[in-house]
Symmetry: C2
Subunit: 404 residues, 2 copies
């Protein structure tokens, strides 16, 4: 018998209880032992819900019970999650969490404690919901040196961009609709400004490259400035605008990471990742291209990943499973020094003016666009682009990176 305690009976917490009840037999067989939910911690009561029988309001009951082998943290937020998780690990209990904010900020500290206690701190559900990307990086792609990880890691913004693309609607109206459907929160900042995707790419990059990528160091832009006009240009180019969270190895001691809207072409497997789905592209030096696709959020897919971690921890109760992440900071290049191509819209129809500043360009012609020019630059660094954008005597209406 393996006793677990679930911290938080919200969406994911109730999903964890549901998954364990639904697939009890196969889960127990795979874990090699019976998994029992001994406690669920929540400040609220849930009259009439069977959870009431195992509900506790005081974390001390859980952390002081030597029978509890595994703690599932699905409360979200930094506090009290951080304190609770740290105390659980220090008490010799393995922890499974879906909390990307916690992992991105305190991952190295918590993994250190788990290593020292010879237990496990797992967080498959923190990135890409039900998509088993973290176990793939830790246990499957072990013959490779990963040199790129690029993900559509936020379902809310991907849903919104897909809608804007299909229906030609404006950001504000799509946001309102997403909020009404429950796909976006009342305060959508973390999603639409890219903060959520930023934490996730920090976690995935740390595992892929074996060094700690601090999410606070990643240049992050959201999708609030994307317009139906941008979408129209994308369509003409046969491309799609996606919020990508991407990192890649430039050299042995230099990496690049950014979260921003990108124009993605049809040959990229991320092009077809639509609606609330997530997709994570990985390039390995011997594997080549791979992509992992699935539900990036949602009660049951996220709970599926949390419970898979619980099964793994049950199978390795007093045996730390190593991963590549360590405390050394990942060396980041100055984003201004990194090259790419840029799609630009300027408020002028004077091509010779544009060419005098940007040199060779590829003009993109959209029937409806009036009084402006859309074009793709040649390969240049972001710093060079910025200098040209400052120099040109016309307003820049938008700039979107091209994913090559």
């Amino acid at each position: 018998m393996i006793n677990i305690a679930v911290l938080g009976y919200g969406t994911v917490g109730s999903g964890v209880v549901e998954v364990i009840n639904t697939n009890q037999d196969s889960i127990n067989r795979r874990a090699g032992d019976a998994i029992r939910i001994k406690y669920v911690l929540d400040l609220r009561d849930f009259p009439g819900d069977p959870v009431q029988k195992v509900l506790v309001h005081d974390y001390e009951t859980i952390v002081n019970d030597p029978e509890v082998d595994i703690v599932v943290e699905v409360m979200g937020g930094l506090e009290p999650a951080h304190t609770f998780v740290k105390r659980a690990l220090e008490a010799g209990k393995s922890v499974a969490t879906s909390n990307k904010a916690l992992v991105a900020k305190f991952g190295p500290e918590l993994m250190d404690i788990a290593r020292n206690k010879n237990i496990n701190f797992l967080f498959e559900a923190s990135c890409g919901g039900g998509i088993p990307i973290i176990r793939a990086l830790n246990q499957s792609l072990t013959a490779d040196q990963i040199d790129e990880v690029t993900g559509i890691l936020n379902g809310t913004t991907n849903y919104m961009l897909t809608k804007m693309d299909m229906e030609g609607s404006r950001f504000e109206s799509v946001l309102k609709e997403a909020q009404e459907k429950g796909y976006a929160e009342a305060d959508p900042t973390a999603d639409v400004e890219g903060y959520d995707a930023c934490r996730k790419i920090a976690i995935l990059s740390s595992l892929a490259y074996g060094k700690f990528l601090n999410y606070e160091k990643i240049h992050t832009e959201g999708i609030t400035r994307i317009t139906p006009e941008d979408m129209e240009y994308a369509r003409v180019m046969g491309m799609s605008i996606k919020l990508l969270a991407t990192s890649r190895k430039l050299s042995e001691d230099s990496y690049y990471a950014v979260v921003a809207p990108f124009l993605v072409g049809k040959n990229n497997p991320l092009y077809s990742v639509n609606d609330v789905y997530n997709g994570i592209f990985v390039h390995g030096n011997v594997l080549g291209d791979a992509m992992f696709y699935g539900s990036g959020a949602g009660k049951l897919p996220t709970a599926s990943a949390v419970v898979a971690d619980v099964v793994d921890e049950a199978k390795h109760l007093h045996e730390n499973m190593p991963n590549e992440w360590n405390d050394q900071p990942l060396p980041l290049a100055d984003p201004d020094q990194v090259s790419g191509r840029f799609f630009v819209r300027v408020q002028t129809t004077d091509l010779s003016l544009i060419r005098s500043v940007f040199g060779t360009i590829e003009q993109i012609q959209v029937p409806k666009a009036e009084g402006e020019t859309g074009f793709v630059t040649a390969q240049m660094t972001l710093g060079q682009y910025k200098a040209k954008a400052a120099e040109i005597k016309a307003e820049i209406l938008s700039m979107i990176r091209i994913k090559d």
Copy 2:
């Protein structure tokens, strides 16, 4: 020091040596020990190739050497691969193989020996090349009951179908081109008749459902009868013709498996899997939809998966990692009893004749098609379809299943 022996210095075997040499440091770190290639077995000599130093021609040298911990079988074919692998396992050496024919036919026997010896028989590279689908089924999706596995599992036929779609060319000319480029073998039967994909879906289904699916029981059709006219109808329908290897759970004691060309719609993530790439769609009862995408073949991607198995075996040298596959046969439904929709082309333009036999149909109009009618049937069993096809007084030009 972990000593390995590689059986076969062909494409994959030389890839394994190259991957281990290229990524030596990270592989050793992840394996927790230094991996050394002690022997490579091949009947041929390779003058001037550094492999010559470790080359042996007699398997006895390997199987009788107690220093050899892991045997890598990348010869392909059933014999002598089966004898060699069995003897290695019986001698207490873990085995990693890329050989789908071996796994599909002798998997249960070889896994039994590995279990009894408390070692491992792993075969990540046998399905989907570099795509880490087997470890995902065994170790990641453990909270789920899988109810569908559908894959584009053969790169050669996917390349050919993509070409036929893009260029409107006939099967024969695309095959010739694929052979010239080395994408198809001189005898292309195993690929184009679906036999290769059939063995792979048998392996994946056995792992997903925890029972043995004998590949000989799977109804298998290839792509040899697909014509440019079929492709034209697919285009008009906004769909793509893919060779799918698919299995699904109909009820607790009834499963369905088939390998055949299917019409796949844009909403299916497999729609965008083109060229030599493979994609494997999995549906779990709590996970929902997931897809794994990557290089399904090729020297280095396949070797990447083989070496990942070697790393896992090095980490679990005398500890069997269980999976769900067992010897009990997977109960299969009669394919004639399973429902679906079918795209049909008949050599008549008499719609009332068609409706008198097939009832409600959705006609598909293709400008160029003359003297024939293309249509999609209502939902019916394959048996019902066959009865109607036998009844109608007009030649059936083609029938392709619709992937719903």
